[in-house]
Symmetry: C2
Subunit: 435 residues, 2 copies
Amino acid sequence: MSIENLHAVPNLTTVLTGPLREIEQHLLNQQASIENWFRNQWRKTPAPFYASVDLRNAGFKLAPVDTNLFPAGFNNLNPAFMPLCIQATQSALEQICPDANNVLIVPENHTRNTAYFESLAMLQNILSKAGYTVKIGSINPEITEIQTQKLASGDELTLHPLTRIGNKVSVEGFEPCLVLLNNDLSGGTPEILENIDQTIIPPMRSGWAHRLKSGHFGHYQQVAESFAEQIGIDSWLINPLFTTCGEINFMKREGEDCIAHNVGNLLKAIQAKYDQYGIEEKPFIIVKADAGTYGMGIMTIHSVEEARELNRKQRTKMSKIKGGQAVSKVILQEGVYTFESWGNEQAVAEPVVYMLDHFVVGGFYRVHTGRGRTENLNAPGMHFEPLAFAEPCNSPDEKMSPDACPNRFYAYGVIARLALLAAAREIDELKRSDA
Amino acid sequence: MSIENLHAVPNLTTVLTGPLREIEQHLLNQQASIENWFRNQWRKTPAPFYASVDLRNAGFKLAPVDTNLFPAGFNNLNPAFMPLCIQATQSALEQICPDANNVLIVPENHTRNTAYFESLAMLQNILSKAGYTVKIGSINPEITEIQTQKLASGDELTLHPLTRIGNKVSVEGFEPCLVLLNNDLSGGTPEILENIDQTIIPPMRSGWAHRLKSGHFGHYQQVAESFAEQIGIDSWLINPLFTTCGEINFMKREGEDCIAHNVGNLLKAIQAKYDQYGIEEKPFIIVKADAGTYGMGIMTIHSVEEARELNRKQRTKMSKIKGGQAVSKVILQEGVYTFESWGNEQAVAEPVVYMLDHFVVGGFYRVHTGRGRTENLNAPGMHFEPLAFAEPCNSPDEKMSPDACPNRFYAYGVIARLALLAAAREIDELKRSDA
């Protein structure tokens, strides 16, 4: 058994099959010191309970483009990962709430999103199998009595209306020690949860009412720079450049000059890096609502002209996000090509990595047959391809040389954890701003 | 996704393919409350850093027959389990020694056991991948300078002679925070490790110079009874009956009367249980050196007559164990049939389950083509068959009903953890007897 066969993150199938790219090889070679570095970081800033990170792999560059602190999509993980999920959950909750037995999940307010209910059921199952009694307490005002949702498996998911007595929330006499938010709080902080005695994870300040993508990527930039220095690479290889503008109103065409100006500067900065590395692709920029989620309020921009000439449809699309919230801030982020594709149709794909506590526990590809390599894939029409444990390294009778099955997924797990660390620092800052 | 697809321990291939036995089904059905029960137990008595447990599955009964607190055999685990091993190691060491970066492994004194070196290399790799700098410091007096051992992979294992300066041990200036014993200390407590400032895990008192199998199974009996009550089964179904005698000397034929007498009583007790459950097999007893290891000092006894008529060869075999230590105490343990067999030859097999901290991280079958269903399999001629993740449940496209792939391995993980809990209590007691 050689060192290459051992992986601090699961060795999962990836779409790419060619030789390891330079960044991937570099990260694999330094696995022990990278894990040591992470350990010291988690000691300073504990990881949030969970997160998922969208990555884009351009070959020459591998970077996170979005970090979700209230992940759904657990139903898209491979069942083979469940031992990892359960082990990580046990390890996390033993720290957070050593004497907890009851956990209450506060879900999104969806009433008809069946995929979300499948994810919620899976999350409930993971916590149950970890040895907790778990119920779901909805803060959706439309849910005033118990609702059951039929699942694809034939099982049922039960949603209870959340009630509050004094400073404690409960459902039907079930009083949790721990409240697990699976609701991104785009609509603001729900009164029913304010100042309760029970522990809420992640803290409510990490909801989208308080969080900004630019805040996250500001932390990510610092994390990436410190990590890059540690392992001796250019931080740009793992860090998408970004900038912001002040107040924006797409419908009133306020702030357009700033966007066009910053698009120009950012395109120049990316082009300089492309030139440095001999990359012949064309730079592009992703403009996103700074507090946006669900893939809403996102557009791809290739030139200053394009930024100046937004049509009414584009402006309308950019002006509102989840729950009808108005967009008043945007982040302009370096677009990262994805050179991964899935299936015979060569549909464009990007990996999404799931973490519980500071452990990588699985992932899947987000695939979109109708989108290009420079576009946001988190859009209607996307589907998910769960990653499996990489087969050639899985078989005990394998006679291949150990180098024949490197853990291509390792690099994804490292970059995703860098984004997780940025999120940890971000949450820490948001919490302190609360006090 | 149904609950049956989710497992608190990995879903591994097992030899048995028939319907789930009653005990297995019973344990699977109560997974959440079992995990909850374990969590409360670990809070009272933390699990040792590692252990492996030999199980025997007779179908009607599933029980541990030996618990190793200084496991070797890591090389026999499937590489696919490494993420679980690494995650568990990180979780354990973050607790035990939050600011440790350097770990020193103290191995067995073997100089030619290549299988052991493969295991040691794997253990070193697991710790490295978990993010620690790991060296191996031997206490073998024959090792006075650095020795390298060639591994099957082509890599090399480096053994350093352990040195002590003041109250600290080190190898070549490498000063560990943590000393990990992978030496069962059958020969007694090594002076070089006594009263050092560094943390030693597992504690030296858990070595075979202090430990007795009967002490372990005394704790196991209490654990099994409390667990059986909790989940509503007869504790005998998971607990091998046992008894001991006082001082024994096989060569001087001292203590034989006690053995014969107790064999008679134990056979009667087992027969009563067999009658109760309508089991038509013949009871048998395993007599083992109470401080024995490496499969040495073990014999199978089927009747009082057989116990009375030990021949010279049997007595010689029973009189000495590892390192030439004399046997002065034995444990008489209810024999548990193994009805598992491996391969076309139907070789008798028993599962060995590995745990790091309180997490089940993998296992393999110990297989012996030359032994019967009532015999000790830990003997020359044995080989190992690594368990893999159970394939039918592993594939994301699986269209089978969820019940079609129950986690047969779950029951093994539960019983192994009961033995682990017994070991935790045993170590706790041994430590207190030290003070």
